[in-house]
C-alpha cells in the first residue's frame, strides 16, 4: 500500500490545560504499523507510536536508524510503503537541517512563515519577537540568515515551527548546536508548552535529561522499543 496518508484531523479546538494525559481523549498523534524501505534497505519495519496531550515523547537511536525518516513520514515529507499516520489538530515541524531562506533576515523568514501559517503580519512578528527573546537571539533579527551561526540558525528553525502555537511539536534534533544556556531555554519552553497541554515529539541520537520525557523509545532495527 504505497503513497498514503497522513490524516490531519482538525476538529474544534479543545481547551488545553490539564497537562496530564486524559484517557478519554484520543492521542494527538497516532502512528500505526509504518513500513519504509529505500531500495533493498528496510528502514522501518512496523513502527507504532502514540503521543497524547501534554506528553513529551523522545525517540532515540543510532545514526541512520530511521529517526528522521519516521518524522518525515509523520509530517508528510515522505510517503511510507505501508501503515497509517493520524495527526489530530495543528502541528509544527522542525527539520534536522534548518530549511530557511538564507538571503532573508531572521525577521523576514519569520514574516514569510507567518504568512504561510495564515497569521497576519503584526501577529506573526509579535509572536516571532517573543520567541526570539525567549531563545535569546533577538539581537540577530536583522541579520541575514546565511551569516548566522549554526546554533542561531537552529533557534530560528525552532522559532519557525512554533510561530502558529501548534498543538503538537515534531522536532528533529532541535537543540543541536545550542549553547548550554539555550539548551536550558529550550527545555523551559518545552515544559511551559507541556503545562499548556501541548505535546512534543523529540528525536535525538542521545537523550540526556530523561526526567523531561513522559516516554522514551529507541528505534532499533526498524522498530520502536519502549525504554
Amino acid at each position: 500500500m504505497r503513497g498514503m496518508f497522513v490524516k490531519i484531523l482538525n476538529g474544534t479546538k479543545e481547551p488545553g490545560a490539564s497537562g496530564t494525559c486524559e484517557n478519554t481523549r484520543p492521542p494527538l498523534l497516532e502512528v500505526r504499523d509504518i513500513h519504509k524501505r529505500f531500495g533493498r534497505l528496510k528502514v522501518l519495519k512496523g513502527v507504532d507510536l502514540e503521543v497524547n496531550m501534554g506528553e513529551i515523547v523522545g525517540i532515540t537511536g543510532e545514526n541512520g536508524s530511521g529517526k528522521s525518516t519516521l518524522l518525515k513520514i509523520i509530517v508528510g515529507f515522505l510517503p511510507c510503503d505501508q501503515g497509517e499516520v493520524v495527526l489530530r489538530k495543528t502541528f509544527g515541524y522542525c527539520p534536522q537541517d534548518p530549511l530557511l531562506f538564507d538571503d532573508l533576515t531572521m525577521e523576514e523568514n519569520i514574516e514569510y512563515f507567518s504568512a504561510a501559517y495564515g497569521l497576519d503580519q503584526k501577529e506573526g512578528i509579535s509572536r516571532g519577537n517573543e520567541l526570539m527573546k525567549m531563545l535569546r537571539c533577538e539581537q540577530f533579527r536583522r541579520k541575514m540568515t546565511r551569516h548566522l551561526s549554526g546554533g542561531t540558525r537552529q533557534k530560528l528553525n525552532l522559532i519557525v515551527s512554533l510561530l502558529h502555537d501548534p498543538d503538537i511539536l515534531i522536532l528533529d534534533e532541535p537543540y543541536q548546536g545550542f549553547d548550554y544556556e539555550s539548551y536550558l531555554c529550550f527545555w523551559e519552553i518545552a515544559e511551559h508548552l507541556k503545562k499548556e497541554g501541548k505535546s512534543i515529539l523529540v528525536v535525538s541520537p542521545m537523550v540526556y535529561e530523561r526526567h523531561h520525557f513522559t516516554k522514551i523509545y529507541k528505534l532499533e532495527e526498524g522498530r520502536l522499543i519502549h525504554e
Binding site: F77, D103, L104, E108, A115, G118, V160
Partner: protein, 249 residues
C-alpha cells in the same frame, strides 16, 4: 490572511532574495554580452548568405559576417540570463518551498509569485540589450528586436523553471541550460528548428533585416512553446514540492 496577501508576501520575499543576489545576476548577464561583443568586433565584414523570414516568404540575403551569427548570439544574453535566474530561483529554494507548503502555502501561490517576479525581470533584461543593439546593428524594426528578446526571455524562464523542477542540483542544471541555449543559438539549418528558441531567433532576424517582417506566426509559435513548457513546469513543480498527506477535516 487572504490568498492575495500570501502571494504578495511571497513575491516580496522572493524579490528581496533576488535583490541580494544582484552581483551574481549581473555577472550572469554580463558574461554573454561580453561574449557577443568580442565575437562582433572580431568577425569580418565579408558578406555571407542568411535566410530571413519576411511576411510573404523566406528570403536569402547577403549580410556582413559580423551581422549574421553574432546577432543570433545576442539572444543568448537574454535567454541565458533568464534561464539561469529562473533556475536559481526554483532549484535553490525547492526544499524551503516545501516547508512553506507544509506550513500552509499553496504551491501555486509560490509559483505564481515567482512568475510575476520573473516576468518583471524579463521586461528589464529585454530592454537593456537594445541600448547596445540598436545603435550598433541599426535594425529596421527595433520594436521587433524587443519582442524577440521578450519572448525568448519568457521561454527561457520556463525552461529554467522546468529544469529547476526536474534537476535537483546546480551543476547539472546549469550544464543543461548551457547545452540548450548555447548549442540552440549556435546551430544552423534543420537541427536549429528543434530548439525552443528558434522562433525568437527568426523573429530577431526578421526585425533586423526584413522590410516586411514576419511577426505574428513567430510570436504565436513561441507562445505555444511557452504554454507547453508552463504546463510541464506546473506538473513537475507540483510533484517536486507536494506534501504527501490527505486532509480529513
Amino acid at each position: 490572511m487572504s490568498r492575495i496577501n500570501k502571494i504578495f508576501i511571497s513575491l516580496k520575499m522572493q524579490a528581496l532574495e533576488q535583490r541580494r543576489k544582484f552581483t551574481t545576476l549581473l555577472l550572469v548577464f554580463i558574461l554573454p554580452v561580453a561574449f557577443w561583443a568580442s565575437l562582433y568586433y572580431t568577425a569580418s565584414e565579408e558578406l555571407t548568405p542568411i535566410t530571413v523570414p519576411t511576411l510573404n516568404e523566406d528570403v536569402e540575403m547577403f549580410v556582413p559576417v559580423r551581422k549574421s551569427y553574432p546577432t543570433d548570439l545576442g539572444l543568448i544574453a537574454v535567454s541565458w540570463t533568464m534561464a539561469v535566474v529562473a533556475f536559481f530561483a526554483e532549484s535553490g529554494s525547492a526544499e524551503r518551498d516545501r516547508r512553506l507548503v507544509l506550513c500552509g502555502y499553496g504551491s501555486w501561490q509560490i509559483l505564481f509569485a515567482r512568475l510575476i517576479l520573473l516576468v518583471g525581470i524579463i521586461l528589464f533584461t529585454s530592454i537593456i540589450p537594445l541600448i547596445l543593439f540598436v545603435p550598433i546593428l541599426s535594425p529596421k524594426h527595433p520594436w521587433i528586436l524587443w519582442l524577440a528578446f521578450f519572448t525568448v526571455g519568457l521561454v527561457a524562464m520556463e525552461v529554467g523553471l522546468l529544469i529547476g523542477a526536474l534537476v535537483p542540483r546546480y551543476t547539472e542544471g546549469v550544464l543543461i541550460i548551457i547545452a540548450l541555449f548555447g548549442i540552440g543559438m549556435s546551430v544552423q539549418g534543420e537541427v536549429a528548428k528543434l530548439f525552443p528558441t528558434y522562433p525568437a531567433k527568426q523573429l530577431f532576424r526578421s526585425g533586423l533585416f526584413a522590410d516586411e517582417p514576419l511577426v505574428l506566426p513567430l510570436v504565436g509559435q513561441e507562445l505555444l512553446i511557452l504554454i507547453i513548457l508552463m504546463v510541464m513546469t506546473v506538473v513537475f513543480w507540483y510533484f517536486r514540492i507536494r506534501v504527501r498527506r490527505s486532509f480529513n477535516v
